[in-house]
C-alpha cells in the first residue's frame, strides 16, 4: 500500500486541533483533582450519556413490567404487581413448553439456547479464518475486504428478502439444483432446515462485522514477533497457536462477547425471512418480546418489558461469571 498518503497527514493535523483547545482545561483539571481522579474525568461524558439513554430507559422498563395498560407514560399505567412475571414463569413442567402459560416464551427460550451457541461458534470460527486470510499480504486484499464487509451494510429487510428469493420453493437454489438434475427441496417449510438456514443467513449478514474487529486486532500484533518465529522455523500452525492467538486474546474476547449478545438479540432478519416459523421452530426470544409488546394492538409493554428484563438478568449473570473467570485466568 506504499507510504502514508498525504491526506492521512492532513487528517492527523485536523485531529490534533481539539487537543490543543482541550489540553489546558484537562491539565487544569489534573492539577485540581490529582492524577487519581483523572480516570473519572475521562469516563464522565460517556457515563452521563449511558445513564441518560441506557440506564434510565431500563429503569422505565422496570416500571412498565410492574404495570398494565397500553399507555406510554408510567404515571398513566395501573400497578399490576408481579402479574407479568407470573404469566411468564408459570409452568407445570419446565421441560415442556406446552405446559406453560406463556408457551411461546419457553419455546423461544429453548430455540435461543440452541441457536446462540451454534451460531456463535460457527460465526467466530469463520470470522477468524476470514480475518487471517484478509490480513495476509495478498494482492487484491482491499477488494476482498470490501466483499466480506458488504453484507453488513444491507438492511435486515433486504437481507431477508434476498435469501427468501434464494431459498423459497421456486427460488434460485432450487433452480440451480433442478438444473443439475438434483431433487429440489422446500428449504424454509421444514423446521430443521429452516433453523439451519436461519443460522446461515445471520452469519452471512453479520460475519463482516467480526472479521473487521479481528482484522484490527491482528494489526495490534507487532511484526517483529513473527520475524522471530520465522527465525526459529516455526510452522504456520504453531505460529498461530503460540503467538497470534494469545496476543489476539483481548479482541477475541470482544468478538465472542459481542457475538453472544447480538446472537441473543437476533430478530429483524428472521422476522422477515421465517417470521419464527415453521410453526415456532425459528422463533427466538427477541421475536417473542416483539410479538407481545409491539406487533399487535393493544401493545403489551408490560409483558414485553418483563420478558426483556428476565433476558437481561440472565445475560448479566452470564457476563459477571465470564468477567470473574477471565480475571482469575489473568491472575493465575
Amino acid at each position: 500500500m506504499g507510504g502514508k498518503p498525504q491526506w492521512a497527514e492532513i487528517g492527523h493535523r485536523i485531529l490534533t486541533l481539539p487537543a490543543v483547545i482541550v489540553e489546558p482545561l484537562m491539565v487544569g483539571l489534573q492539577r485540581l483533582l490529582g492524577i487519581k481522579r483523572m480516570p473519572w474525568v475521562f469516563l464522565l461524558p460517556n457515563l452521563v450519556a449511558v445513564i441518560m439513554f441506557c440506564l434510565l430507559p431500563v429503569f422505565i422498563n422496570v416500571l412498565y413490567s410492574f404495570t398494565g395498560s397500553d399507555r406510554l407514560y408510567p404515571a398513566d399505567r395501573n400497578f399490576v404487581g408481579g402479574m407479568n412475571y407470573d404469566v411468564l414463569l408459570s409452568c407445570q413442567n419446565y421441560l415442556d413448553p406446552s405446559s406453560c402459560t406463556a408457551d411461546l416464551f419457553w419455546r423461544a427460550l429453548r430455540n435461543s439456547l440452541i441457536f446462540v451457541p451454534t451460531q456463535v461458534v460457527l460465526m467466530v470460527t469463520v470470522a477468524m479464518i476470514a480475518a487471517i486470510c484478509l490480513n495476509r499480504q495478498l494482492p487484491g486484499r482491499g477488494f476482498f475486504r470490501g466483499v466480506f464487509f458488504f453484507p453488513v451494510m444491507l438492511s435486515p429487510v433486504v437481507v431477508a428478502y434476498t435469501w427468501q428469493w434464494i431459498l423459497q420453493r421456486n427460488g434460485a437454489l432450487n433452480g440451480i439444483l433442478s438444473g443439475l438434475g438434483l431433487p429440489t427441496f422446500d428449504w424454509l417449510a421444514v423446521p430443521d432446515s429452516a433453523f439451519a438456514w436461519s443460522i446461515f443467513v445471520t452469519i452471512w449478514a453479520h460475519m463482516g462485522f467480526y472479521t473487521i474487529i479481528l482484522l484490527a486486532g491482528l494489526q495490534s500484533i507487532p511484526k517483529d514477533v513473527y520475524e522471530a518465529a520465522r527465525m526459529d522455523h516455526a510452522s504456520n500452525w504453531r505460529t498461530f497457536y503460540a503467538i497470534t492467538l494469545p496476543l489476539l486474546k483481548p479482541m477475541v474476547i470482544v468478538v465472542v462477547v459481542l457475538c453472544i449478545i447480538r446472537s441473543v438479540q437476533t430478530f429483524d432478519e428472521l422476522y422477515v425471512l421465517t417470521g419464527g416459523g415453521p410453526g415456532s421452530a425459528t422463533m427466538l426470544i427477541v421475536q417473542y418480546i416483539y410479538e407481545v409488546g409491539f406487533a399487535v394492538q393493544p401493545r403489551n409493554f408490560g409483558l414485553a418489558a418483563a420478558a426483556s428484563l428476565l433476558l437481561g438478568l440472565v445475560l448479566i449473570i452470564f457476563t459477571a461469571v465470564q468477567m470473574s473467570l477471565s480475571r482469575k485466568s489473568q491472575n493465575g
Binding site: 431500563v58 495478498l138 458488504f150 434476498t162 479482541m251 426483556s308
Partner: protein, 362 residues
C-alpha cells in the same frame, strides 16, 4: 512454473500470484487463502450483486418464477387505431415458424391479435395457449427516479440532515468512547470494575425494547423534531467502549510510564500516545458508527416528525403500505443509500492496516 512467473514479475496476473509476503513461493497456505476468499466472494457477493441487478427490475419482473438474472420487461408496441400500447407476443405460425403479434384482448381460449406491421389486415384469432410474451432487456431506472422525483429541491436537505447526524454522532462517539476506554483500560481505580460492568450490561438490552422509553426521555428534553434528538441517544454506544478498551489493553503500559517520566499530562498521554496507537480500533468504531447512524430508521422515525428534519432513509421509505412492500423501491433505495457507505468503507478500512505494527514495540 513459479520461476518463470517470477521472471516476468511486474506484469499482470503472474505478478498477482507471485508477489507474496516475504517469500516468493506460492505455498499451500496461499492456495487455501485464495480458495477461502473466492468461496467467500461467491457466497457473500453474488446475493449482493443480485440486489443491485434486481433494483433495476420492474415489480412484475421481480415476482417472476423462475427468476431472471437480468432485468426484463414485456415489450409493448403502439399500433394505429388502438389508444393504449399493446403487448407483443410470440406466436407459432402453421409452417412452424414464429411471428410477433400484438394482443388486443383474450376471450377464453381465443386470443384476438393484430399484426403490428400490418394493422390493416384486421384482427386475427389465435389459440391462447400457443402465445408467449416477448421480453426485452429493460433497466427500470424509474425505480430510482420515482424515489427521487418531486423531491429534487428537498433531497439536498435530507442528505444534509443524514450527513449532519452521521458525522456529528460519529465524532462524538469516537471521542467519548475512546476517553472512557482509556480510563477503563489504563488505570486501576476504585469502581473501575463496576463502571465497566455497568457499561457492559447495557449491551444486553435489545434496542427495540428501550425505544419507547428513549422517546419519552427525548421528548422530555424537548428534542423531538430536532436532529440532536437522534444524535444524543446513540453516542454512548457500549459496544465502542468495550471494543476500544480491549484494544487499548494490548498497548504496553511502559509507554505511559515513560511519558509520565517526561511529565506529560494525562490528556497528552491519551491524545498523543494512546489514540494514534489505537487507529485500527478507532477506524472500526468509526465505520460502525457511520454505518448505524446512516442506516438508522426506527429512532429517526419516532423523533424526526417533520419533513424538514427527515433523514435520507426516512424520506426514501415510501415502499411500504398497509398491505405490501414495494420490493422494487426497497431494492433501489438500498442500492442508492449503500453506495456512499461502500465508499466510506473503502476509505476508512485503510486505517485498519496502519496500526501498532509500524511502531516496532514489543
Amino acid at each position: 512454473m513459479a520461476d518463470i512467473a517470477e521472471k516476468q514479475a511486474g506484469a499482470g496476473l503472474s505478478r498477482l500470484f507471485t508477489l507474496r509476503r516475504g517469500h516468493n513461493r506460492f505455498d499451500i497456505a496461499d492456495w487455501l487463502t485464495y480458495g477461502f476468499l473466492v468461496l467467500g466472494l461467491l457466497v457473500l457477493f453474488l446475493p449482493v450483486l443480485w440486489v443491485v441487478l434486481s433494483s433495476f427490475k420492474t415489480n412484475a419482473n421481480l415476482q417472476e418464477f423462475p427468476p431472471t438474472v437480468l432485468p426484463y420487461a414485456m415489450e409493448t408496441v403502439d399500433v394505429a387505431g388502438y389508444d393504449r400500447p399493446l403487448t407483443l407476443f410470440n406466436v407459432k405460425t402453421e409452417d412452424g415458424g414464429e411471428k410477433q403479434l400484438a394482443l388486443i384482448r383474450r376471450v377464453g381460449r381465443i386470443a384476438q391479435m393484430v399484426d403490428p406491421a400490418d394493422p390493416e389486415a384486421g384482427k386475427l384469432q389465435v389459440n391462447a395457449a400457443e402465445i408467449t410474451p416477448v421480453k426485452k432487456l429493460h433497466f427500470a431506472v424509474e425505480n430510482y427516479s420515482r424515489l427521487l422525483s418531486g423531491k429534487e429541491n428537498t433531497i439536498l436537505r435530507y442528505v444534509y440532515n443524514s450527513l449532519f447526524i452521521t458525522i456529528v454522532a460519529t465524532i462524538i462517539t469516537v471521542v467519548m468512547n475512546s476517553m472512557a476506554a482509556f480510563a477503563l483500560s489504563k488505570y486501576r481505580f476504585r469502581g473501575s470494575n463496576l463502571a465497566l460492568f455497568g457499561i457492559l450490561s447495557m449491551l444486553m438490552i435489545p434496542a427495540t425494547v428501550i425505544m419507547v422509553p428513549i422517546y419519552l426521555i427525548v421528548s422530555k428534553l424537548g428534542l423531538v423534531g430536532n436532529l440532536w434528538g437522534v444524535i444524543l441517544p446513540t453516542v454512548a454506544t457500549p459496544t465502542g467502549v468495550f471494543l476500544l478498551r480491549q484494544y487499548m489493553l494490548t498497548i504496553p503500559d511502559e509507554l505511559i510510564e515513560a511519558a509520565r517520566m517526561d511529565h506529560a499530562s494525562e490528556w497528552r498521554i491519551f491524545w498523543r500516545i494512546i489514540l494514534p496507537l489505537s487507529t485500527p480500533a478507532l477506524a472500526v468504531v468509526a465505520i460502525f458508527s457511520i454505518l448505524s447512524r446512516w442506516n438508522d430508521f426506527l429512532l429517526p422515525l419516532l423523533i424526526l416528525n417533520k419533513r424538514e428534519v427527515y433523514t435520507l432513509q426516512l424520506a426514501l421509505t415510501s415502499f411500504q403500505t398497509q398491505y405490501e412492500i414495494h420490493y422494487d423501491l426497497l431494492l433501489s433505495m438500498t442500492t442508492l443509500t449503500a453506495l456512499p457507505l461502500a465508499i466510506v468503507f473503502i476509505f476508512l478500512q485503510r486505517y485498519i492496516t496502519t496500526g501498532i505494527a509500524s511502531t516496532g514495540i514489543k
